[in-house]
Symmetry: D2
Subunit: 343 residues, 4 copies
């Protein structure tokens, strides 16, 4: 006796737009690891790159608009280049499809507000890709906050350093360290403390690579911020550790202190006459955050599947950008900037 | 423009026999994560269980013999119940297919020798599923040995404790703690030290559950062993930690000491007035060894794909059983047993 | 045959003024653990408290002036109450004796400058008690900086939190959190990075105890600072952890990152179904810094014994106060304050 | 006003016999850190070595018998060479003085029994110097056992490795690795589990230094033992780690697992591209066990001061030797040896 396995339950029919590294990761997660979803098609302006999806039976497009025209696609993951987000979000909203979009939503606050308004009116689900909220370590820290083990938050410290700077071409278009790096940490601070940040002060320098300074950007920063409840916090960023991704958080409160440390590739310690040695932490976001990349898309699929609000909203995406704008302004004017000044 | 992704490179066409928990894991790894392989079909005596494979397009059988008869299947993963291994290995060898088989090969040394002889004559590849050799932590310990960071091995200590005892039904047929648990640790000791064990002494007790003793089995053991080069070692096993899987190794030598510790689900530490707290290690083999389950099958596929010797041979499987027999004999006669006494 | 042990080598003859907790610690260290020194006498305005020295043969005074008049006393440790430091330093300088003084030197910058001028003119050795510089963990971090293992400093993070607030009576006279707590951390930042701080921004709140706020003080602060070389840093302080002293430092640079963690009373980990547990860090400064209290006085004695410059100078004491003044001003005016504004 | 501090409370008047490294440590602890005791005199066959005591006012003897004749000495610490213990214990007992004696009591079981009998009849207090029982880490492990956090003991693992072998001259007279090293670990196993060991099996090799083998001794051993309650255990010893003292214990039971790890000189971690590095553990017993050396003598003084039974008895000293004899016999005859065979 022989059968062929197939399923007829109604799954969310999905498309992934953009087949860069991130688009490929999302595609595999949808196709293989999320039973409630089905990866129907992907697009990339380069059809060769679209082929990188590497999953049997998936349909390939070089024009995402053709996908948006299909009636049988329920939801879309937008993993295209940053400068296209605004336009594609609008079109996806107009096509009436739910969407998950990599951050940032758009590059100016005005554009973000316009986009969120369109999404809102279209009544589609919209989720922003703050993947770190789905990292097992950071989720566990948050859980300690929710369970009351931290108590009322008093101090938040976030360390967020890249192993090495991105290419100069990327640096030119990324919007600067506050928008490219700190934006994630601002979201993490809001997420962990479950409080809104009301004031920001940012210091910074060019210590890693002079060319970063020549672009008008910084590579080493220290941000000081205040929450509405009076709690204080810091974010330190660097474009280059030399060792690996250094991603740690700490939230200290009236009941205790929860610390989220780096993950390492193994749990081995070697002791010899020179000391006790462990391997460096996982190299970069691809290595450190696979569960988070999976978790965020899974959460999106579940929100569509169960017709619920996604756990990271457009408003979350907007707020992190507002804080990045405040940080930049603070650095430029060397003064603390109230978030209410920005909008 | 629209294409549908497909590949025409020649992949290893595979079948998985037995759709228990392990068979399902192997199936997903082959289907989704090993590009050199293609999962064509699976079997289980229960067709309902075969359906658990959950992968679109895979063919389902309730009789593995029909799979062995197919000419278009290159290699087979045997994940059926222990008592069927011997028979299926023979038939697979006779069908001329390469195979990966969960341990143990068979239940007596005579049967193992017969099976290995048949496999050898058939000239097919044969790999035994000692998954722990592919755990990132234990691989890194081994790497330290290979790199000379440990030097000449002097002492090996292996801690291997289950979170809770298996069901009594399983306990009745598993062959006892030395065959069911220590066998993995004997393989680990040989793997890490790259030396052969020549003598074994085993002590043990029933401290966890009296019913285990009523079956003539033990639930708590301490094995002392000697390597050919004079190095010494210990293995301690327990059927019940109450917390989670406790799987640690240590190899100490003339140059240093490499320790492989437990993995935890996250890297969070909470400090409060009661102390500093981390979550317990990963619960059991499913949680602890996903990379190892993937790695062993990947290594098998690569050996088939590249026509190379698999990294864990039938001889490795045999040796671990010989050591388990020696341990049992040592316990029963309360004396050190030379491995040469066994065969 | 019987002898009685005695020594005739010329040791530094010392007195300790003030027999509070700190004075007692210094007395015992001098009497028992520093062979180059001899504890001749101690003083306290309460002769009953002077008796707490508990060391056979030590002479007790209720008036330190009588000690300063003695010709056979070479050096003095000033461990009296903060408000007496200024006066006693002056008198000790005029008496021509070398001295080690607990911080702070005096309460205003004008007073400090006057005191340091007198000390300078008297040509006596003067060392300020920044004990943490002599903590084995922080010394090792500094050693990594000196050895080039950190490289050019980029980021310094200092966590410094007390287990519980001091008594209100103490809070009223201590000068506030920036002078009582952060002053140590500013010294640590200068010590570790071997750079001068040029600008400070301080945020803070009252989250622990309203009565602290009623005194015009803060109990939770986050300081952001910049070094002359462009490196940035943060100091977070809290008056209450609830668990124990939380004293950690981190210095990140072009070559690596050195982290100094808390010390615990033992190295025990208990794993049970609730998790893996360690005891809280050492409770407070008495428990955490015994080696540091010993090391600072030993360093002072050695500088007298060998006629060398003490390793922590009056200028170091002054600079830490300048930074505390800058922090307070920054908090009050909610703006970054350049150190050059202070003096 | 001037006084000179003195005390007239009745303290235990003590003598230390033997001014080797250990005798000096005991002398300083008694003189400086134990208020209930007074160090009156010390002895050494070399008066020059007696002078090493370095404590003002202490009387020096080159003949301990003169000390035993003094009526004003209450208690004696015996820190002379091993071969003199038996004789001096007898004489001290006959002099009616309480005593603390470094292990071993004597070199044969017959001699130990004779000595303990004399001590018993003399009715003096007698404590054996198993210092590790007073190490903060091991005490905390024991506390977890007492508090029920470990539950019924199932498995004990003890790692006990020296940084480097002692001099050959010492090796010739120390009685071999089982008497010189394992004896401490047997005591630790009994102490932690609060159970008696009933059977021992020992394996061992010469892997560190051939000259140790030429003396008929071993340098690398693995001991397997059984407790009366059925729990099992292991002790692994090595004469040379190359790095430092490796002293760890683990006790696993029905409720949890308590692990005592090595102490390090500081709590610093350096992360650079090569990995994350800590300094090696504390070098040897002098560095690792200062609190334990203090604690054991303090416990002895308190037992004399309060007229209570010392916490480590002659019987404890005897039992550890019995286990060492069993281990040696087991190794020589390559078979498990019941403790009841020894006596």
């Amino acid at each position: 006796m022989k059968e062929v396995f197939s399923t007829d339950k109604k799954r969310v029919r999905m498309a992934v737009l953009g087949m860069g590294r991130q688009g490929q990761i999302h595609s595999k997660n949808i196709a293989y690891k999320i039973p409630e979803a089905e990866l129907v098609c992907v697009s990339d302006i380069s059809i060769e790159r679209a082929e990188k999806v590497g999953i049997e039976g998936v349909e390939l497009y070089d024009d995402y608009k053709e996908i948006l025209e299909r009636d049988d696609i329920d939801a879309v993951v937008i993993a295209t280049s940053t400068d296209t987000h605004e336009q594609i979000i609008k079109e996806t909203a107009e096509a009436g499809k739910d969407m998950f979009c990599e951050k940032p939503i758009a590059l100016t606050l005005e554009d973000i507000d316009e986009v969120l308004d369109i999404v809102d009116k279209a009544g589609v689900k919209f989720m922003v890709g703050f993947n770190r909220r789905f990292d097992p370590t950071f989720m566990r820290v948050k859980e300690h906050v929710i369970d009351g083990n931290v108590g009322e938050p008093h101090i938040v410290n976030i360390t967020s350093r890249d192993p090495k700077p991105p290419h100069l071409e990327y640096l030119k278009v990324c919007g600067g360290i506050f928008f490219d790096t700190s934006v994630h940490d601002f979201d993490m601070a809001r997420f962990l403390a479950d409080e809104e940040i009301v004031e920001v002060y940012a210091a910074g320098s060019v210590l890693v690579d002079e060319r970063i300074g020549e672009l008008g950007d910084l590579d080493t920063t220290m941000i000081n911020f205040k929450f509405a409840n009076g709690a204080v916090g810091s974010i330190n960023n660097s474009r280059k550790t030399g060792y690996s991704y250094d991603q740690r958080v700490e939230i200290f409160g009236s009941n205790g202190c929860a610390v989220g440390k780096n993950e390492r590739p193994n749990q081995v310690e070697l002791t010899n006459p020179e000391g006790t040695h462990k391997d460096v932490p996982l190299y970069f976001n691809i290595e450190r955050y696979p569960e988070a990349f999976f978790g965020e898309v899974k959460a999106f699929v579940e929100s569509v599947y169960n017709d619920e609000e996604p756990p990271v909203t457009g408003e979350d995406g907007r707020k992190a950008v507002v804080l990045s704008i405040a940080a930049k302004k603070s650095y430029e004017e060397n003064r603390p900037v109230k978030v209410s000044e920005i909008g």
